[in-house]
Amino acid sequence: MNTPISEDDLHAHADGQLAPERQTQVEAWLAVHPEQRAQVDAWREQAAALHRQFDAVLDEPVPARLLPPPAADHWFDARKAAAVAWLMLGGVTGFFLRGETVQELQQPLAAMSSLPRQAAIAHAVFVPEVRHPVEVGADQEAHLVAWLSKRLGSELKPPQLEAAGYKLMGGRLLPGDSKKGVAQFMYENAARDRLTLYVQPDAPTADGTGFRYAREDGIDVFYWVDGRFGYALSGSTGRDDMLRLATLVYRQHDK
């Protein structure tokens, strides 16, 4: 016994959304109802016309402005988790390797190579933050400078990058290899590109001076040692641009 064919059935038939058994029943019914058959055909023709009209859009190249930046993605979740794992691992290792052993095991070069990685992780964690990118804002710059200088055990001043269009947003204290912690300053330009400067106290003396470059998960990092501090500047505006900015930072600290 067939249930009567409803108008909903006809629509579902036109759209191919009927179960096979019902489909057969509707087909049979339409064979003897030419008026409804014409209606269903007309609906199908509407859908076909929509495809003819708009399917060309599918083949158009996607405008660049529509492509989301890599940093805005949820890989950020993975990064955040990785950063936490990294920091925990650092803490655990630090606990077991206290004292002189640390000095023996931590070759300067190895420690140096972890600087860009840690800087890039800290960059990836905090740069996408909308509400809390920094712990202390640039509006309290005096407090920020005094606080971080005290914690890092040496006078510290965030470089001015306004000549390059970047304004200081503020900074935060992060856990580091030593009890002193690590400072992170964040900058932003009018295009909302963000830079972070990662400052590590008691940096090991590396062989030779000058910049080193690392690319960590799409983040360009220039790093160097200057005096007691290791610096790492991270950003995503391209290697050349980052080199220009790193030079600007370096020159200010070099004075």
């Binding site: 629509h11 509407q46 016309a49 003819r52 399917d55 158009e60 996607v62 993605d73």
Partner: protein, 167 residues
């Protein structure tokens, strides 16, 4: 595939739907851009058991409706109240196509959305109901009205009365 890649893969579909929905290429891409931004912001709230595409369409629907509420230069009469005289005109296919965008614009938004999600995007009725947050029965009644109305408009007879409100 990462979340970003999955969303990026949907951009052509979002652009096609937005183009058909708004009838304007620039406005459509603005809507797509807003949709992508919102989707990436709300990524954490996306329930994995939900299909990505209907979720993105639902974000687009909400943004579009919000935008129209903020600025509604055109007020549509209730489609069912309009006088319609059905005249079948012989039309060439090209003319039909040229008229299709204009005809779509003459459909009330709620009918146009259902018609496009079913006919162009080929979502299931259940997906359309979730996308637009309406009961399945409403999907069917809007679909039926949209199809009947589009037929009448394309037949060259029905032109809804538009009231343009100057801002």
């Amino acid at each position: 595939m990462s979340g970003r890649d999955a969303i990026v893969a949907e951009i052509p579909r979002l652009r096609r739907y937005a183009r058909a929905l708004t009838g304007r290429a620039d406005a459509a891409d603005d809507l797509v851009q807003d949709t992508l931004t919102r989707a990436l912001e709300k990524w954490h709230f996306w329930q994995r058991e939900r299909e990505l595409r209907p979720w993105l369409f639902s974000i687009m629907h909400n943004l579009h409706v919000d935008a129209l509420r903020r600025s509604h230069p055109v007020v549509f009469c209730d489609a069912d109240d309009l006088p319609i005289s059905v005249q079948r005109a012989e039309q060439h296919d090209a003319l039909v196509l040229r008229d299709l965008e204009r005809s779509l614009a003459l459909l009330p938004l709620e009918q146009r959305e259902v018609l496009l999600l079913v006919g162009l995007e080929e979502l299931s009725y259940a997906e359309v109901a979730r996308t637009l947050a309406i009961p399945p029965g409403t999907v069917m009644s809007r679909l039926a009205r949209a199809r009947a109305r589009l037929r009448e408009i394309l037949a060259g007879a029905a032109v809804p009365v538009l009231k343009v409100v100057k801002k």
